[in-house]
């Protein structure tokens, strides 16, 4: 277990390094920021001075090494738009993104787990049909369009909830619900099929045959084993929420990291792009790492293989 842990940690570090490297080179293609930072009609000397100040005259390899050295120390440079350290700018937006993704995840898993379990246990009933139809529609609905529809209905027509912005609980409801629909649809479908597989297993028949209470069989045998694929799915969804939040945050004018990165891309503010994607990728890699560790707890067979 110890050596496996170290190996996985090294792999995670390698992935983060790869991401940072790719982002560095792609942002260098975005264009010369010095022309954007100076007023129109700036003299050639001014541009030259700024370029050397930003280190843009160094060979690309040197720029890259300097960048890596500073990134290791948490220094991604100063944001062109905000005039403050880029990592700090990103970090300030983190609570909003975490709040949105966290609420959506909790709500989505709760709805998805109940719906999926009902669909599996009440096989062939109207309940299953309803759950599966709604889940299929939920999966096919683009998140941003669902957001717009919810704004149209609850924000514009009924006027119950704000159409966008940040600050109160009311502002959180619609964006969280939007993302939760997507999460719960995936969870419900997956949980149903994995539970149906498990209900056919011999150990379930054994557990029932030896007279265990249905609740005990469900909690200790069915639910626990059905959770393994759901855990993987949760990690994938968490990653998609982090990345997909760009669109949802834009629709709801939610001041999170996704919207910040989009604005930074549009404004060519590459310190913020680099810091933002570094933060998102690191969280993503950490989630995957945590999930891998969790497998061992959930499934003794996986633990034994290591």
């Amino acid at each position: 277990m110890g050596s496996y842990l170290i190996k996985r940690l090294l792999e995670s570090l390698l992935a983060v390094w790869g991401v940072v490297t790719i982002v560095f080179f792609v942002t260098r293609v975005l264009g010369d920021p010095s022309t954007l930072l100076l007023p129109v009609g700036a003299s050639a000397e001014q541009i030259e001075a700024l370029r050397s100040q930003l280190g843009l005259n160094e060979p690309l390899v040197m720029q890259y090494l300097t960048f890596l050295w500073q990134a290791v120390q948490g220094d991604f440079g100063t944001s062109f738009q905000h005039g403050r350290p880029a990592l700090a700018v990103v970090w300030e937006r983190m609570p909003a993104t975490a709040l949105l993704a966290g609420s959506a995840m909790v709500l989505g898993i709760a709805i998805g787990a109940v719906a999926g379990a009902i669909a599996a246990l009440k096989r062939g009933t109207v309940a299953e049909l309803v759950v599966m139809t709604v889940a299929l529609l939920g999966q096919a609905t683009p998140v941003f369009w669902l957001g717009i529809m919810l704004i149209l209905y609850f924000g514009v027509s009924l006027g119950w909830l704000p159409t966008g912005g940040y600050g109160t609980f009311a502002h959180l409801v619609l964006p969280a619900l939007t993302l939760a629909v997507f999460v719960s649809a995936s969870i419900a479908r997956l949980l149903r099929s994995s539970m149906l597989d498990i209900l056919r297993e011999d150990y379930i028949r054994t557990a029932r045959a030896k007279g265990l209470m249905p609740t005990t069989v469900f909690l200790w045998h069915t639910a626990r084993n059905a959770l393994i694929p759901v855990t993987t799915m949760t990690a994938i969804l968490a990653g998609e929420l982090l990345g997909g939040s760009v669109v949802t945050e834009t629709v709801f004018a939610w001041p999170g990291v996704g919207r910040l990165i989009l604005q930074a891309i549009q404004a060519n503010d590459f310190p913020v792009i680099q810091a933002g994607i570094f933060v998102v990728a690191t969280i993503f890699v950490l989630i995957n790492f945590a999930v891998d560790m969790l497998y061992g707890v959930l499934d003794p067979r996986i633990r034994a293989e290591r």
């Binding site: 792999e11 390698l14 992935a15 983060v16 790869g18 991401v19 790719i22 982002v23 792609v26 942002t27 293609v29 975005l30 299929l136 529609l137 999966q139 096919a140 609905t141 683009p142 998140v143 941003f144 369009w145 717009i148 529809m149 704004i151 149209l152 514009v156 159409t163 990653g239 998609e240 982090l242 990345g243 997909g244 760009v246 669109v247 834009t250 629709v251 996704g258 990165i261 989009l262 891309i265 549009q266 792009i273 994607i277 998102v280 990728a281 993503f284 890699v285 995957n288």
Partner: protein, 279 residues
Amino acid sequence: MTFFKELARSKVGMAGFVILVLFVAVAVLAPWLGLEDPTRGSLRARMVPPDWWGPHPLGTDEVGRDILSRIVYGSRITLMVAGAAVVAGGIVGTFLGILAGYAGGITDRILMRLVDIQLAIPLMMLALLVVAALGPSMVNVVAVLALTSWIRYARIIRGQVLSLREREFVQSARAIGASGWRIMLRHILPNVLTPALVVATLELARIIVMDAALSFLGLGVQPPNPSWGRMLADGRTYISTAWWAVTFPGVAIMLTVLGVNLFGDWLRDYFDPKTRSAR
């Protein structure tokens, strides 16, 4: 023929197939459907509400362009962009998956590390970044969508190849001195086309949504070409006065994705002997 017989037995799979065929037919036949020019509006007919029997069944947008016509023509863009991206991503991913699985060793390790790195960047952000860097032309959007897609094929195909590599027909081809390329293209490729096709169908759904999201954020195919995502972005400004402008393009996306998903799920079960015997 067993394919269609099987398909006809599944109501859900058939529904998906019909939606998919309709989508392609509408996209291909758009110019012959007798619709208005989707790029030219009439200022006198701005934001006309939907009227099923009138000249604008789904209403018009803020510059008086017919929404039905824009949705129909938008399906061509979606079909072209998503179709090309699926094909490009599928070819690259399948090829690299075969290479990683068959060559093994250092090639395999490098390719799988690349997959890991790419998996650590949320695809949407990768797409945004690359489109911003290269500029939002149709070719670039296709390239970006293909870039987000190849890893799905590569991982699954690699797994298949690892077991195919040990089979007798591959071993005997190697024994009579066939080159590595010949074995990969002649013996392994035909055997991984089925899983590649299943991945392609499921990827098509994901790519349609991602393409719509990119154009929604202004980084897709540029106006005046009608694209579904762009229509939603434009319509959002008038959400309080023209509900139809933000509703129907989304319905189009949802129906298309639903069709592709239904058909893809059925296809996966059809080719998977395990679930097939269970039915």
